[in-house]
């Protein structure tokens, strides 16, 4: 299974295996990793699953949809590394992906 690393804002790192086709958000929630709220349950409607992806991964991820881009406007302190983790589906190519959580989601 692909391994995903989630780094909390305080630096605490969690590396877990996430089944293919789950979202990066679900990987965190199912492993009770703090820092991702996911209030809308993955419907791209709340921006509380915001993460910063590691620079080297930025171009390896599927492009943002316009809905994700719009929702990111509402996230806390978004920047050019920002993604909504519910919109990134895990597959073998994402083995080793590292994402960091913002200091808060709302």
């Amino acid at each position: 299974m692909p391994k995903i690393t989630y780094i909390e804002h305080n630096g605490k790192s969690h590396t877990v295996e996430v089944a293919k086709d789950l979202s990066v958000m679900e990987g965190a929630v199912q492993n009770t990793i703090p820092g991702i709220d996911a209030d809308c349950g993955g419907a791209c409607a709340c921006a509380t699953c915001h993460v910063y992806v590691n620079e080297e991964w930025l171009n390896k991820l599927p492009e943002k949809t316009s809905t994700e881009q719009d929702m990111l406007d509402m996230a806390f302190e978004p920047n050019n590394l920002s993604r909504l983790s519910c919109q990134i589906l895990v597959n073998e190519d994402l083995d080793g992906l590292v994402v960091k959580m913002p200091s808060k989601q709302t």
Binding site: D39, T48, Q69, M74, N79, K104, T106
Partner: protein
Amino acid sequence: MIKTDVVIVGAGPVGLFAVHQLGIIGLKAEIIDNLDKIGGQCIELYPDKPIYDIPAIPECTGEGLTNGLLEQIKPFKPNFHLNERVQEVSKEKNEWKVVTSKKKIFLAPNIIIAGGVGSFEPRKFLTQGIDKFENNSVFYSVKNKKDFENKKVCIFGGGDSALDWAIELSKFSEVTLVHRRNEFRGAEHSAQIAKKLEEEGKLKIKTPYQIVSVEGDKTINAINIKSDSGKVEKVKTDFVLGFFGLIMKLGPIAEWGLNLEKKTIPVNTKDFQTNKKGIFAIGDICTYPGKLKLILSGFHEGALAARACFKIAKPHETYRFEYTTTSKSMQERLGVKKND
């Protein structure tokens, strides 16, 4: 003070259908929601998007579903109390006392919490120190546009509200519109008007910029904004308006002494009662083994909670299971009784 059989917290799809399930068995409900409109997530987050998994309705929109539910509960004439957050819940003798943000008081033997993921509240600036200026220099809605006449106003956001208010207020105020991207997600037409106003020197647009700090003592007199490239600029301003959409906040529900599990309320699946007798939780807000956050599930949960409310509201009456197809009393309540 309003007395009723059941107070329903939340006018989302699940709260609405609960009115129906209570109504057919003869219970009255008052329904309270913090939003200015009826329909919960369906109306606030996806009014135009399709839903395909409501039984017997192959396709409808969030708005369509809400309208259908409103039509279905019309016979019960429920009272809606919108723009009001349920603030306090306390025990008063054998009943529950419910107090809203507008200090309206309800007394009922039952409460059904159909609060979804919490009440919808404006998404706020998270910049340090900005919260103390809320409602004097910082606002998340415009109540009276005259308040901003001939003043300097900074408007943040990229959606329709930000664009519309920037255009409107630019008629008589000095407006700067700030957004973190170059693209606006509001209507193309409005974005074009804003750009035209900028060319004419009637509106300043700052993109891609975000707020980093505020200056001022009792009121704000300037803010600092930072571009993606790291450039910081000071903008003198009297008011700061933020239009970042709404967010769901669990809010006061957490303070009513109910067991909570990750922002949801554990219930038993027999009647969807919480750890407090007479307080039920249905829809997205409740949790139990196997819970699915689906509208369909919320409808079922409401049907069971309604029957349990009956036993508490009318302890001396016998509850009888009946079908709407064949029950005279249910048809009377629905106002459809035919003479046979």
